[in-house]
Amino acid sequence: MILLILPLSLLLILSVVELGRVRDLLAAVVLLSVYSGIVAVSFAVLGAVDVAYTEAVVGSSISTILLMLLLARVDPYELARGSRVQTGIALLAAAGVGVVLVYGMLALPRFGDLDSPPSTHVSPYYTENSLRDSKTPNTVTAVLTDYRGFDTLIETVVVLTAALACMLVVGAGRGTKRAVVRPFASLMLSKLLGPLIASLQLFLFYVIMHGHYSPGGAFQGGTLLACSLILPLLANAPGAFVVIGPRTAAAMAVVGVIIFGGVGITSMLVGRPLLDYGGLPFGPADEAGRRALGTLLIEVGVALTVAGSLVSIYYSLESEMEGPHGGSS
C-alpha cells in the first residue's frame, strides 16, 4: 500500500507545484487533468473504487473539456506576475492553510485502523445490515441511494442549480443550428467517431444500470452521457449524431430532479417515509424487486440531471464563444 501511495503522493505534490509555476493556462488545465488522474488512481488504490470512478470521469475528462472551452474564449496566458509582496503573502497564506490541514490530519485515525470510530460504529453497521435493509448488493449504492437518499436528492438539486446559475450568468446558448465550421476534415475522425460514441453509450448504460450491483452508477453514467453528447459537437459533426439542444438539455436536467423527487413523494403518498423504495405502489411484488426498481428510477433521474446540466454548461460556454470571435449563426 505505502509503496503505491507514496509515489502517487509525490506525483500529486509535483503536479501542484508545477501548476503554481506555469503561466500558460492551457498547460494549467492539462495539469489539473493530470492531478485528477493521480487522485483517481490514489482513490482506487485506497479501495474507494466508486469515488475513483467519479474523479476520473468528472475531474479528468469533462471538467477539462469545459475549462478548455472557457480558455478558447479568454486570453490563455496569465498576465504579469504579482509583486514580490503579493507572492510572499500568497505563499504565506498557502503555507498557513497547509500547516492547519496537516495539523488536522494528525488527529485522523490511521488508514484502515480497526479501532477508529468509523470502523467500530458506522462501517460495520453498513456492512452487516445494508443488504438486509436496502436489498442492494453494492453497499456504496445502498448508502448513496437509500440510507442517504435525501442527501443525494439535494446533491442532484445542487447540480441542477449549478447549471441554472451558469445559464443565468452566461446565457443558455443558441444550440446546434449555427453555421458549422470544420477546422479539420479528418477522414479518421469521421470514420471512428461513430463507433466510439456508440460503444461509449453502450458502456454508460451498463454503468447506470449496473450501479445497483457494482461500482459505478448515476453520477458516473450521467457524466459519460454528457461526454457522448458533447463529443460530436466538439468534433463539429452535430448532423451525424443524436445531439440535444440547449433547451432539451435544460429540460432533461429538470426532468431528472422531478423523477427523483417523484419517486420520493410517491413512497410518501402511500404512507411510507420519503424515498422508501420498498413502499412503492408499483413494480414487482417482492420488496427486493421494488427496491431495485426504485433505485434504478432515481439513478436514471440523477443521470439525466447530471448529463443535462453538463450539456447546458457546455452550451453556455459555447454561446460565449459565438460572440465577437465566433462564426455567425
Partner: protein, 126 residues
C-alpha cells in the same frame, strides 16, 4: 509459466514507457514528441495490459483488459493524428534539424562530382 510470461511482457512494456519518457524530454518539437509518445500507446501500455492479462490468466478482468487494449488501439492513432493536424494548423513548425529533405528538392549529393542518374534527370528539367 504464465506468471513469468506476464512479467516479461510487463517489463518490456515498462522499457518502452521509459524510452517514451526519455524521448519526450529530449526531442525538440511537437511532432517528434508525438512520434515518441505514440510508443506509449502502441507498445508501452498495450504490453503492460497484455502482461497483466496473461498474469491473471483466463478470467473476466483479463477480458476487460483486452477490451481496453482494443479501445486504445482505436483511439490512439486518432488522437495522434488530430493532435498533429491541430498543431500544424495552430502554426507549430517542425524544428529546423528535424525537417529532413523536402520532397520537391533533390537531396544534396555527398560529393559534387558524383551525382546519381535520378538527380541528373531532375536537373535537366530545371
Amino acid at each position: 509459466m504464465t506468471d513469468l510470461l506476464g512479467l516479461i511482457l510487463m517489463i518490456s512494456g515498462l522499457f518502452f514507457l521509459l524510452i517514451a519518457a526519455i524521448g519526450f524530454v529530449r526531442l525538440p518539437d511537437v511532432f517528434c514528441r508525438l512520434h515518441i509518445t505514440g510508443v506509449v500507446d502502441t507498445l508501452g501500455v498495450p504490453l503492460m495490459l497484455l502482461g497483466v492479462a496473461v498474469y491473471l490468466g483466463p478470467q473476466l478482468t483479463s477480458g476487460k483488459l483486452i477490451l481496453a487494449l482494443i479501445f486504445l488501439f482505436l483511439t490512439s492513432p486518432l488522437v495522434g493524428h488530430l493532435l498533429a493536424s491541430s498543431a500544424l494548423q495552430a502554426g507549430q513548425m517542425p524544428a529546423p534539424g528535424t525537417l529532413g529533405t523536402p520532397p520537391h528538392r533533390p537531396p544534396k549529393p555527398r560529393t559534387r562530382m558524383k551525382a546519381r542518374p535520378s538527380q541528373r534527370v531532375l536537373r535537366s528539367k530545371e
